[in-house]
Assembly symmetry: C2
Homo-oligomer: 329 residues x 2
């Protein structure tokens, strides 16, 4: 059928029927796709839980209480957004699923360590995490500090000893990306800027700069580690993943700010409204909810644009972008 | 001269003169050796300071206060025992000096991070470190926590991006050793055991187990990273280094316990007597000073025995063993 035929149907009734049928099929297809994507998420979250469980030191090995506290802080909760992005980006770049497991787990472990330290009394002083008492409430401040420290080491150990990634250069690149994303020019740096800005209103540019480091760097690392899990990832695809992850990483944080202002503690599994309580600048305080939501839409569009050269092989990443920007928890 | 001639001099006066001359020469040689070893230590400490200075993020780069606090915590002090061991082991295994620089620096950075976290109020609560206010006294608890976190990441980043070590497998092996030595079965694990044993008397075996992890693991890692800085280190030499470092790492801790009980705060540059204050088991509380000193001598002998197959190429390590066991600060 030529484009002109499509644009100028010869019979209005037929055309209308056709449109109705198309819309119905589209709706069905979307619904199937969403159902299968939802199933994919549940499946991959469970997979990540198993990978983490199998690769965290057992609580029956000395030092037992530390290992128990490490497992408490990592297992049994979390959206695993970073692991999902690693799996999505890895699949897009042609990586075998089992080769993505440990790199994805290492990013989740770095994320968990940052939450443990971030919840401590000298930082955000939050008693609730993933619907449970925070690590320091459960195990005390000193143990929580050591949990965070040991989890960071573990993340690097896991990649360095990964037997499925048999290419040393590949592992080294992953370790390098992860170390930079966690450090003073990445996550820890963003937390430091956050810390210094309590009570000091940030400009939108300053806020963006902070979040690109605080949350964005590790999300970007997750996607890149997924991409580099492929034996020889296509360079253009890696670039696309990187651009995609930059936009979606910032979108993730803007959504976080909106949810912190709008949702309740039970839904979030962590204390809601704590940005306002700590007198922190957020996208909501600077832009208001409506403009913040508009920014999420723009960043979502940017993420989609990064994948525009690709067909169905990028659908998983597209759905992940929807999942991240439309989440309610 | 034959051995019998040496043992049975034909003239007592000549023999006595000879012995006096020999002793004088020996004394001179020892003194020269000590002087040159002292000079080596000073030289290598200064070298390490320069390497650290050049490889720590500048305090003029954002986040400036974090970078300033990281530099404060790492630069301008410390015996650099771990770096010295890395240089000593590296030289023994034939590594070029500049290839040992970053691996050695990374171990010093891990050590500095552990001190920052260890000094915090929820841990040892110590206001003094290397003769200066501890990081948390100078920058606050939250910043000190981030300093430790970011330093750990930096240590891994430095090795992963080391341009002088052009062998990926070599770097990967170093990262693996460092990650395990820092983690829950190494340094952090030892700290956790220490934490749990406050007020609970440990047996000598439990104390040894704790220190092998808490201090020994990183000292061993320092020596091994030095050894693996050689392009193709001789396996027997690496094993000798490992055995040497195990004994000397434990000796280091026993000396620490003796100094904590005997020396004053000014000499140590950190608070003296804090083990007793915190009601901790130490080699002094378990064995007493005299038997603890005897243990140091035994461990020193074990360390020397590990090098017994080697000649003058192991002299630097031997002198390091003397330096570590005879130190007064």
């Amino acid at each position: 059928m030529k484009i002109n035929d499509m644009l100028a149907p010869h019979n209005d009734q037929i055309a209308n029927d056709q449109i109705a049928n198309d819309q119905s099929r589209l709706k069905q297809a979307n619904s199937d796709q969403i159902q299968s994507f939802d199933a994919w998420i549940v499946h991959m979250q469970a997979r990540m839980e198993k990978v983490l469980d199998a690769n965290m030191p057992s609580a029956s090995i000395s030092p037992m209480r530390l290992h128990e506290a490490m497992r408490y802080s990592v297992l049994g909760g979390g959206k695993r957004v970073r692991a999902l992005l690693a799996y999505g980006a890895g699949e897009f770049c042609g990586a075998q699923l089992d080769k993505i497991d440990l790199p994805a787990a290492s990013v989740e472990i770095i994320h968990a360590f940052s939450l443990v330290h971030d919840d401590m009394p000298c930082m955000d002083d939050d008693d609730l995490r993933r619907g449970k008492p925070s690590a320091h409430k459960q195990y005390g401040d000193a143990m929580a500090m050591l949990v965070g420290d040991a989890l960071q080491s573990l993340a690097f150990a896991l990649i360095s000893q990964d037997k499925l990634l048999n290419n040393a250069t590949q592992k080294l690149q992953m370790l390098h990306i992860l170390a930079l994303a966690s450090g003073s020019r990445g996550m820890a740096g963003g937390q430091a800027i956050d810390l210094e800005s309590i009570g000091i209103p940030l400009t939108r540019a300053e806020l963006e700069h902070m979040h690109i480091q605080k949350t964005g760097a590790l999300i970007r690392a997750a996607a890149l580690l997924g991409a580099y899990s492929a034996d020889k990832p296509d360079e253009d695809k890696v670039k696309a993943v990187d651009h995609f992850a930059k936009s979606i990483g910032l979108a993730f944080q803007v959504v976080d700010d909106i949810l912190d202002a709008k949702a309740d503690t039970k839904t979030l599994g962590k204390t809601a409204g704590k940005d306002a309580y700590h007198n922190k600048s957020t996208y909501v305080t600077i832009l208001g909810v409506s403009a913040a939501q508009q920014l999420v839409d723009e960043l979502h569009a940017n993420a989609m644009a990064a994948l525009s050269f690709y067909g169905s092989e990028a659908d998983l990443l597209r759905q992940l972008a929807n999942f991240i920007t439309q989440r309610s928890f």
